[in-house]
C-alpha cells in the first residue's frame, strides 16, 4: 500500500486554487485552538494565538533573540524584583479603544490571581503583582528575583480592561479584542479566521501583516493535512513526519524544511533512589554504564533524522547558559558492561521504563540496554500519566523530552528538574545550590558561570542521559515567502506571497 501511496504522491499536482489567488493563507494544525481567549487556550496553539491576535509588553526578535519593546517603549529594573515599563502611547485595540497603563495592570493582575485559573501558569507563577505608577508607567513585581522576567512577559498578552470585565472569558472567546497584527474570529468546524488589523501600530517590531487573511484549520490527521497540502487546500503545516515529508520534497509546488526546535530528548535516571531506595541507579558507575550503552548517534541519525543532533548536556545547545563542554559518554557497550560488573551488576538488572512520545526511540533504547544486560520493561502511557508517575516517585527511568516553552535560557529546563523538588530524581545538593544561585541573580555572567558548573556536574554524575534535539518538518507552499522559525513559533504576520 505504501508503494501505491508513494507513487500517487509523486504525481505532479495541478496548480492550487486557494492561497495566493485570494490572499488567504490556509494553515493547518493538528490540535484545535480551544477558544480565542489566549489565557484560556492551552498548549502551543494558545501561545501562538497570543502572538497573532494580541501583543505583549515585550517581543523577542526571532533572529537575534533580543528582547524588543512591543506594547512598551522601554523598561528599567527599579529594584531586584521590580521592572518598570513605559507603556506605548496611541496603540489601539481592535475595538478602537486606546491602550492605557491600567489595561496592562489589570491584565497582569487578572492573570496572576489563582482564581482566574488561566492555563499557562508557567508564564505567570513568578509574578507577585502589577501596579500603575504614572499615566504611562507600570511596575511589575516578581515574587523573587526573576532573571527570566522578560522571557515570561513575551507570552502575556495585554487585554482591554473594560471590555474584558464586561464580557468575561466567554465574551472574549466569542469576540476577541486585542492589539495584535490580526483580528481573530471563529469560523464553523473549528476553523478560525485572522484578518489583517488595518490600524496596527506602525512601530511594532512584528510589522504589519503583508497577507490580508489567514485561516487556521484544525485537521487532526497528518495524512489528511498532506493531502490538503498537495491540493492547495493548505498552504502551511508543521510537525509533518519524516516519511511523508520526504515524499513531499519531490513536489515542486511545496517546500519542505527541517528545523530544530527548543525541544530536547533525554533519559531520566533515578539517581536519588526515589522509586526504590535500593535501585542500582544510585551508583554513578551504573548511570555511566547506561550512558555508554545507548547509541545516541544512531538514534538521532536513523530514528529522528533531519537536522537532529546528539546532545551531551541537559539543555538545548542554543540556550543561554547551555554548555557543550561536559563529560561525554561515547557509545561503548563493552565499557558499559565493565562498569556494571565493577558496580556489582555483572548480570544486569531489571528496570521499569516510562515513555509517551516516540515508541520507536524508546524501543531502540531498550534494545541498547538489553545488550549490556539491563532488562527494561516499557510502560507506554499518556503524558499526564507519566508526569503523575514521576511526581509520585514511581518512575525509575523515563524517555522524556522538554521544549522549554521555546525560552532561550537554561533556566527554563535545568531548574525544573534539578531544584531538589518533586520533579527532581537526582536530589543533588550541589546542583540544587548552583541552580538556586542562578535563579536568584540578575547578573548574566554569574548565571552563566553557575549553570555551567551545574551542567558539568549533571553530566559527570550522569543524572540524565541527554539524547538528541528534536527538529520539526515544516511544509509550505512554494508561493509563500516565510522564514521557518527556530523556536517553533510561526510568525504568519511576516509571511508574504512571492
Amino acid at each position: 500500500m505504501l508503494a501505491v501511496v508513494a507513487g500517487l504522491l509523486a504525481l505532479p499536482a495541478a496548480p492550487s486554487l486557494a492561497g495566493k489567488a485570494d490572499d488567504t493563507l490556509n494553515v493547518g494544525f493538528r490540535l484545535q485552538l480551544q477558544g480565542l481567549d489566549a489565557y484560556y487556550a492551552p498548549g502551543r496553539e494558545g501561545l501562538l494565538l497570543s502572538f497573532w491576535a494580541y501583543d505583549a509588553l515585550v517581543y523577542r526578535d526571532p533572529k537575534t533573540l533580543e528582547f524588543k519593546p512591543l506594547l512598551s517603549t522601554g523598561w528599567r529594573q527599579v529594584d531586584d524584583r521590580t521592572l518598570e515599563f513605559d507603556i506605548r502611547e496611541g496603540v489601539k485595540f481592535h475595538d478602537g479603544t486606546v491602550l492605557t497603563a491600567d489595561d496592562v495592570t489589570y491584565t497582569i493582575n487578572f492573570a496572576v490571581r489563582p482564581e482566574s485559573k488561566v492555563f499557562n501558569q508557567f508564564f505567570i507563577a513568578w509574578i507577585e503583582g502589577a501596579k500603575t505608577v504614572a499615566a504611562n508607567k507600570v511596575q511589575i513585581t516578581a515574587k523573587a528575583v526573576a532573571p527570566m522576567a522578560l522571557q515570561y512577559l513575551t507570552g502575556l498578552p495585554i487585554y482591554p480592561a473594560k471590555y474584558y470585565q464586561q464580557v468575561g472569558k466567554e465574551g472574549m472567546a466569542a469576540k476577541p479584542v486585542g492589539t495584535g497584527p490580526y483580528i481573530a474570529r471563529a469560523l464553523p468546524n473549528n476553523s478560525f479566521e485572522f484578518k489583517r488589523n488595518p490600524d496596527y501600530f506602525a512601530d511594532s517590531p512584528k510589522g504589519k501583516p503583508p497577507i490580508g487573511r489567514m485561516v487556521y484549520k484544525t485537521i487532526p490527521d497528518v495524512s489528511t493535512q498532506v493531502a490538503e497540502l498537495l491540493t492547495g487546500g493548505l498552504d502551511w503545516a508543521y510537525h509533518v513526519p519524516n516519511d511523508q515529508a520526504e515524499q513531499l520534497k519531490t513536489n515542486p509546488r511545496l517546500k519542505v524544511v527541517n528545523e530544530e526546535s527548543y525541544r530536547v530528548a533525554y533519559l531520566t535516571l533515578d539517581a536519588a533512589g526515589k522509586s526504590n531506595p535500593s535501585t542500582p541507579m544510585r551508583d554513578v558507575r551504573v548511570r555511566r554504564a547506561i550512558s555508554h550503552a545507548i547509541d545516541r548517534e544512531a538514534i538521532a541519525k536513523n530514528l529522528v533524522g533531519g537536522a537532529s543532533r546528539v546532545i551531551h548536556s541537559a539543555c538545548y545547545p542554543k540556550q543561554f547558559g547551555c554548555i557543550d563542554d561536559v563529560m561525554r559518554f561515547a557509545y561503548d557497550p563493552a565499557k558499559a558492561k565493565a562498569l556494571l560488573a565493577e558496580a556489582g551488576y555483572a548480570d544486569g538488572f531489571a528496570v521499569e521504563i516510562y515513555g509517551y512520545r516516540s515508541r520507536q526511540i524508546a524501543e531502540a533504547i531498550i534494545g541498547n540496554l538489553r545488550a549490556v544486560g539491563i532488562r527494561g520493561n516499557l510502560n507506554w502511557l499518556q503524558y499526564p500519566a507519566v508526569v503523575e508517575k514521576r511526581r509520585s516517585n514511581q518512575a525509575p527511568m523515563i524517555v522524556d523530552d522538554w521544549g522549554s516553552a521555546s525560552f532561550n535560557d537554561v533556566a527554563a529546563i535545568v531548574p525544573v528538574f534539578f531544584n531538589g523538588g518533586i520533579d527532581d530524581y537526582s536530589m543533588d545538593a550541589e546542583v540544587t545550590k548552583l541552580v538556586d544561585t542562578g535563579g536568584t541573580s540578575l547578573d548574566p555572567k554569574l548565571r552563566a558561570e553557575v549553570y555551567a558548573k551545574a551542567l558539568q556536574r549533571i553530566a559527570e554524575q550522569a543524572f540524565w542521559v541527554p539524547l538528541h534535539t528534536m527538529p520539526i518538518n515544516y511544509v509550505f507552499s512554494a508561493d509563500l515567502d516565510m522564514a521557518v522559525p527556530s523556536d517553533e513559533i510561526p510568525e504568519f504576520f511576516r509571511a508574504r506571497w512571492k
Binding site: T218, P220, D221, T224, T231, E388, R391
Partner: protein, 305 residues
C-alpha cells in the same frame, strides 16, 4: 404494550447508569486531569491547586456521585478545557455527526437492499458470489485505508471532491461512503438470508401459484418479511455510526461528536466524555426501543408475544 415500554425504559436507565460508571472509571485510570490541564510547564503546586479546585482530590465514588447528582438536575457541567457548558459543546457538534450518520445509513441501505435481493434471487450463482465478494470486502477493508484511497483518488488525482471540512454537501460524500460501506455488508447478508428464506416459504409459493407477477412476489411479499431484521440492525448500526465515526471524523476533519470524544478522552476532560457517552448510550437505547416498536408494527407476531 405500555408495560413493555415501561420495562424497556427501566432497563434503559440501568444501562445508562452502568455505562456512565464504567466510562468514569476508565477515564480516571488513564491519567490525572489536573496534570493534563496544568500543561507541560506547570509546577506541582499549581497541579495540586487545580486538583483541589476541581474536587479531583476527593475519593472517586464521591466525585462520581457529585457528577451524577448534577446530571440528574440537567446540569452536565462545564468542560475543563472550553469555557462553554458541555451541553452546548455537544449540541453544536451533534448536527455534523447526525448528518454523517444518517446519510451513511441511507447509503448503506440503498446499496445493500438491492444487492441482497439480487443475490437471493440467484443463490450461489455468479451474481451472488460478486455481491458476497463486495460485502466481504466492505467488512474486511480497514476504514482508514478506504478513506485514504478515496482521498488519493477523488481528492488528489481527480480533484472531484474536497478532502476535509464541512463547508458543503460535497464534503460529506467521502465520509458517507466510507462509513456507509463499512455498515453495508451486515445489511446485505441479512437481506440475502431473509430473502432466500422468504422465497422458499409457503406463502411465496402460494403467491406465485396465484399467478402474481414476479416483481410483486419479490417486493411485496418476500421483501417485506426479509426487512424485519434489517430494521433492528439499522437501529443498532445507526447507534454505531453516531458513536463509532471517530476515525472517519478525524481523518476528514469533520468536527462532530466523534472527534470531540476522541479529543476529550486524550485530555481527560471527563465532563465532556461523560456527556458524549451518555448521549450515545441514549441514542442506542432509544433506537433499540424504536426498532422493537417498528418491528412490532411490521410483524404482528412480535406484537402478540
Amino acid at each position: 404494550m405500555a408495560g413493555f415500554v415501561l420495562r424497556r425504559c427501566l432497563v434503559a436507565v440501568l444501562v445508562l447508569l452502568a455505562v456512565s460508571m464504567l466510562s468514569f472509571g476508565l477515564l480516571k485510570l488513564s491519567g490525572d486531569l489536573a496534570t493534563a490541564m496544568a500543561g507541560e510547564q506547570a509546577g506541582a503546586d499549581y497541579v495540586a491547586f487545580l486538583r483541589k479546585e476541581y474536587g479531583l482530590d476527593r475519593p472517586l465514588p464521591v466525585q462520581y456521585l457529585h457528577w451524577l447528582g448534577r446530571t440528574l438536575t440537567g446540569d452536565l457541567g462545564t468542560s475543563f478545557y472550553y469555557a462553554t457548558p458541555v451541553t452546548d459543546l455537544v449540541a453544536e457538534r451533534l448536527p455534523i455527526t447526525m448528518t454523517l450518520g444518517l446519510s451513511a445509513l441511507l447509503f448503506a441501505v440503498t446499496l445493500s437492499v438491492p444487492l441482497g435481493v439480487l443475490a437471493a434471487l440467484h443463490p450461489d450463482g455468479w451474481i451472488d458470489r460478486v455481491v458476497l465478494g463486495i460485502a466481504l470486502l466492505g467488512q474486511a477493508t480497514p476504514t482508514f485505508w478506504l478513506c485514504f484511497l478515496m482521498i488519493l483518488l477523488f481528492g488528489i488525482n481527480l480533484r472531484w471532491l474536497p478532502i476535509s471540512g464541512t463547508a458543503s454537501a460535497a464534503h460529506y460524500v467521502m465520509p458517507t461512503v466510507a462509513l456507509g460501506y463499512y455498515a453495508a455488508p451486515a445489511f446485505t447478508r441479512i437481506v440475502r438470508a431473509g430473502m432466500i428464506e422468504a422465497l422458499a416459504s409457503d406463502y411465496v409459493r402460494t403467491a406465485r401459484a396465484k399467478g402474481l407477477r414476479p416483481h410483486a412476489v419479490v417486493l411485496q411479499h418476500a421483501l417485506r418479511n426479509a426487512l424485519v431484521p434489517v430494521v433492528s440492525v439499522a437501529a443498532v448500526q445507526l447507534g454505531f455510526m453516531l458513536g463509532g465515526s471517530v476515525v472517519i471524523e478525524t481523518i476528514f476533519a469533520l468536527h462532530g461528536v466523534g472527534y470531540l470524544a476522541w479529543q476529550s478522552i486524550s485530555q481527560n476532560d471527563y465532563p465532556v466524555v461523560q456527556a458524549i457517552v451518555l448521549t450515545i448510550a441514549c441514542f442506542y437505547v432509544v433506537l433499540t426501543l424504536a426498532a422493537d416498536l417498528l418491528n412490532a408494527a411490521i410483524d404482528p407476531r412480535i406484537r402478540l408475544s
